[in-house]
Symmetry: C2
Subunit: 118 residues, 2 copies
DNA sequence: TACTTATATAAGTAGTTACGTATATGTCAA
DNA sequence: TTGACATATACGTAACTACTTATATAAGTA
C-alpha cells in the first residue's frame, strides 16, 4: 500500500509481523488442526465436530472461536445449530506447505508421510 | 508410508498433528518472524541479527534455537561466530502463504500490504 | 410458558512461553 | 595461561494457553 510496506517490499514492520504471528499461532495447536482437517470436506456443526474429535463441547467451541477470530473459519447459524467452514482454500494451502516441510525432513529421518489435502 | 497415513491419505493421526502444530508454533512469534525476515537475504551471525533486531543477545540466541530445533534454520560455526540460515526455500513459502491470507482479508478491511519475499 | 437441544462463556488450574538479568561456555589471540 | 569477544544457558517472572467443570445463552418444540 505504502512505499515502505507493499507487495514488493521485503520488510514487514513489527505490527505486521505480530499479525502474521497471530495467524501462525491459530494453526499452532493439534486440536485446532484436527478441526481444520474435519472441515476440509465441508461445513460441520459444533456437535458433529465434537463427535468426530471426541473432546468436550466447551473445548471444541473455544477452539472454533480461535480459528474464526483468526479469519480461518466462517460461521453460519442454521436454527439451533452453528456450522463452521474453512473460509478459503488458502487456509488448507498453508497446512499443506507445512506438511511438505515435515515430509522433507522425513527423507533423511523416515517417518510417516502426512498430507492435509489428498 | 503406511496405508493409513501416506501422501494420499486425507487424515493425520494425533502425533502427526502435534508435530505439525509445533512447526506452526515456531512461526508464531513476531521476534522469530523478524529473524526469518533478516535471514531471507542470506546467512547471518548472531551478532549481526542482534544489531538488526535491537533486542538482547540472550533473546536472539534463544529464539534462533527454537527456529533451529523446528528445522527452519541451519546452523554453522565459523570461528567464534555462529551463522544461521534458512534451511530451505519452503520455509519462506510458508510465510508467503500466510501473508497472502492476511492480504486477502485486507481487501475488505484495507490495511498495509505485506510480503516476505519480494 | 416450560422443556429440550445446541452452542457459548466463566472460573479455576496446570503447563507453556517470551523476556530480562546474570552467568556459563566456546573460540581466538597475545 | 590470561583476556577479549561471541554465543548459549540458567533462573525468575509475567503473560498466555489449553483444558475441565459448571453455568449461561440461544433456538426449537410442546
Amino acid at each position: 500500500m505504502s512505499i515502505h510496506n507493499n507487495a514488493h517490499s521485503s520488510s514487514l514492520d513489527r505490527s505486521s509481523l505480530e499479525r502474521l504471528a497471530a495467524v501462525f499461532r491459530a494453526f499452532g495447536d493439534a486440536t485446532r488442526l484436527a478441526l481444520l482437517q474435519e472441515l476440509k470436506s465441508g461445513a460441520r456443526s459444533v456437535n458433529e465436530l465434537q463427535t468426530a474429535l471426541g473432546t468436550s463441547q466447551a473445548n471444541i467451541s473455544r477452539q472454533l472461536k480461535v480459528l474464526h477470530e483468526a479469519g480461518l473459519l466462517s460461521r453460519e447459524r442454521r436454527g439451533a445449530q452453528v456450522f463452521y467452514a474453512i473460509s478459503e482454500p488458502l487456509v488448507m494451502d498453508i497446512c499443506e506447505a507445512a506438511c511438505r516441510k515435515l515430509n522433507r525432513e522425513a527423507v533423511l529421518a523416515p517417518a510417516p508421510r502426512m498430507a492435509f489435502a489428498s
